[in-house]
Symmetry: C2
Subunit: 494 residues, 2 copies
């Protein structure tokens, strides 16, 4: 008879197969699927998701988890067992029918949201949105009870295990205390000199596609274990041995695909670098989305926006699109580090981005707690933008309808973007301090020294520890705002 732990590994191997199948099917839905395939795909994903939940919820899993607790396990097995227990708690807390209702609401609400955003019509999404919020509240309450935390924290815990709002309130309080005044000074200083020259498009798609592959290769992407494709919104999907990275190419913009590919390549390198021995097991996965985002931002924001790398990139851009003063290194760098008060989060620079996130954090927290009702969201959104960023959206399309998350059912997710940015700053600073020639290499388009540091300190550790411990061990200090602020002050002199 196999040990309880061994039986659990076999079971979670099957659960891992379900999860990785869902990941490939989600990629396919965004990249390949014909329009008419949506309902069938929705049924597939809902069915697999329900199967996953039911497998985790079986009584024998609880018995095995208890029995395995008493077995002799090494450090990795112990962490794996902890991850198994965590997945079960999250799965069991939400009854199967509620999970199915949430899945269906997500599919339906997302569809209506696409139309409502297109036609700038918040009223059109309101009934679906209210129904979604009611289901999310029910799920959050059930999970909060199971985890012994607040409902909001229970949702957060799914995306960033162990994170609690007291810490986020403190970190975000420090950022909202610092950023607005800093932003004023950065923009004032930028406006004191003429804007950098802008290259004239169009930027042929063939060249952009070649450049995208060059950049992925530079970062270290392994094309034997992954692909580059195109989708409306860039993302990194698939599984560690077969990473599916996507971007969007726009003939009128060279920078969108360039930076999107660098960002997603950071995610991809993390996936490809996760411990191969633990594929499909909880401990073999990234410990949440904040750490995952730290990897994309380490590449896109920290490394790629250095003067060193932008100098190399400038030569590549010039080779791809032809001679132009706008491709001089200084001009390319200045455009890549230009700060603007803008309406759209996904287009925001690294100075204003946390303010976009803080707004969403406040609003979703208020909606879950009942202090804000959906019908009042547009007004609250615009007030928050005025307060934090001193701009007001002209309409809901560039306001509260811009992001897919809430309509899809992803609540308690937004904070991970900014927690990831803080972690990225600490990781990059540490890697640079501990790795001779890291930026000399970036000046040659070579990410190997950076990856050589990230591999053992982050990628290969999987979920051996909590996200908090992982960052603290790697950087020598708990997650905070100091290094991030210092990074901004160094890159954006005022």
């Amino acid at each position: 008879m196999a040990s309880a732990y061994a039986q659990l590994e076999a079971l979670f191997g099957r659960i891992g197969a379900l999860e990785s199948a869902m990941s490939v099917l989600q990629w396919d839905a965004s990249v390949m699927m014909p329009a008419g395939g949506g309902p069938a795909r929705g049924a597939q994903l809902a069915g697999l998701s329900r199967l996953r939940r039911d497998l985790l919820a079986e009584d024998r899993v609880a018995d095995l988890l208890d029995a395995a607790q008493g077995e002799a396990l090494d450090e990795w097995q112990t962490a794996n067992l902890r991850g198994m227990r965590r997945e079960r708690v999250h799965a069991v807390a939400v009854p199967g029918d509620l999970l199915e209702a949430l899945t269906k609401a997500g599919i339906s609400c997302e569809g209506v949201w696409r139309g409502a955003r297109e036609s700038n019509d918040f009223a059109a999404i309101l009934p679906e949105f209210e129904a979604m919020l009611a289901l999310v509240k029910e799920s959050a309450a059930a999970k909060g009870e199971a985890l012994g935390c607040t409902p909001y924290e229970a949702l957060l815990d799914e995306n960033d295990p162990g994170r609690r709002t007291a810490e986020i309130d403190r970190l975000f309080g420090e950022l909202s205390g610092f950023l607005p005044a800093f932003l004023d000074r950065v923009i004032e200083r930028q406006n004191a000199t003429p804007a950098p020259p802008v290259p004239v498009g169009p930027f042929p798609l063939t060249q952009q596609r070649l450049l995208a592959r060059d950049l992925m290769t530079a970062v270290g992407f392994d094309f034997a274990h992954g692909r580059l494709d195109e989708s409306q919104h860039p993302f990194c999907g698939g599984v560690p041995d077969d990473v599916r990275l996507t971007t969007r190419f726009d003939e009128s913009r060279y920078d969108f695909s360039t930076m999107a590919v660098l960002h997603e390549s950071g995610h991809a390198m993390y996936e490809q670098g996760l411990p191969a021995k633990w594929r499909g097991q909880p401990v073999g996965q990234a410990p949440g989305m904040a750490v995952h985002e730290s990897q994309s931002l380490c590449v896109e924001m920290q490394a790629s926006r250095t003067a060193a790398f932008q100098g190399w990139l400038a030569k590549r851009l010039s080779a791809a699109f032809g001679e132009d003063p706008a491709w001089e290194a200084e001009a390319v760098l200045r455009r890549a580090t230009r700060v603007r008060r803008s309406m759209i989060r996904v287009e925001a620079d690294e100075v204003t981005y946390p303010l976009h996130v803080i707004l969403r954090y406040r609003l979703e927290w208020a909606m879950l707690g009942g202090d804000l009702v959906p019908v009042d969201l547009p007004g609250a959104w615009n007030d928050g933008m005025a307060d934090l960023l001193e701009v007001t959206p002209a309409n809901d399309r560039e306001g509260c309808l811009q992001d897919i998350h809430w309509f899809l059912g992803a609540w308690g997710y937004f904070p991970t973007y900014t927690l990831g940015a803080l972690a990225a700053a600490q990781l990059y600073a540490t890697a640079k301090a501990q790795t001779a020639g890291l930026e000399d290499a970036l000046a040659e388009g070579d990410f190997r020294p950076l990856m050589g540091w990230l591999r053992p300190h982050i990628h290969e550790r999987g979920s051996l520890t909590t996200p908090a411990d992982l960052i603290e061990t790697a950087t020598g200090q708990a997650l905070g705002t100091a290094v991030f602020k210092a990074h901004l002050e160094a890159r954006y002199p005022v």
Copy 2:
């Protein structure tokens, strides 16, 4: 409390989600997956397949099946229940560990087979092949016991429900009694006149790709619910609402992609035409591969090789590739109906194709029964080719290593190709007799009259009846060889 039948529908909906997920993942593996993704995909598919088996094998499913038997069910529900019972019998008969061993052997043996075929080295595949055969025998014996039939019939039953060897022996006996002499006379007659002119390539891929889409559109393929892609071997995968059709384009040949697309479009139309109300349920699926093949051959062999359609196709070919006497209608038709004694099944014409299948049927039957051992396969293959087709392969690559089926674990599958050809002849003859202007429409590249007949008589009936009843009801006679022989005699005068 939901009725037992309703509970079963919910369960089989989830099983259907698993199956359809596997189908998309298999398509992805052939079309999209990077080389390094193979092991992870193998683990995914093995995990999903095991989950499917375990769900079907649960005791409560047997209880529900028994309880549902006593409930008031309509005709479709009754047929669905029969399909559920059949799926459970097949699933339970093979223990989970044997299923996993078979899945893994298939993945491993297929990999070795690719290399062995490439290097024409039968000895290299022999150990894996012997191991595969041992597992297939074990599985066939277990299934035969459960189904109350011979082990070979149990494998056949998976692919063509209810078919037994006595019927195949009779049908194949009639064909092997007729075809060799007929083939002699056809070739003699063909050789009495000069060969048709052959167009000079290359045939640009861009034109071939456009033509392929044109042909799919002509047949009636719904691109809102499907895609065309490229893979080494053409196939039709995906799910009814999202059919993934593939072909291969070769600049030196225009006819390969043309005929492959027509063949796969026949499969695709069947999938897209299955009863929408029964998606994901057993009764909503095609009743086996013989009927499925009848649909591809009805399009590719019956309809597309008529003088009517070849005349339309000739104009399209000329428009695509430029003026050439070889694109005259008569030349195009003569090339499309040229008969040859060839080594390779997938390239065979419709006269010799059944002989290739009969050889494989005899050999796999002998191997499963122990009358032929794998080490003797190459010699037996070559003897069989000499006997049936009067040709001898120059090596195993064009002999017993040419097909993937046995190495992948697909035994008892080959007969369905020829059973499908017989059914296609009956269906087309009946459709033509009952549909005014069917071939006039084909002469305009219009398959709507043919599909208008196939939809209600085949597609929309799903698995409401057995394959045998389906064909007999649609054509007014049991499956036989008479109509097929008459078709050959009409198309290939001697």
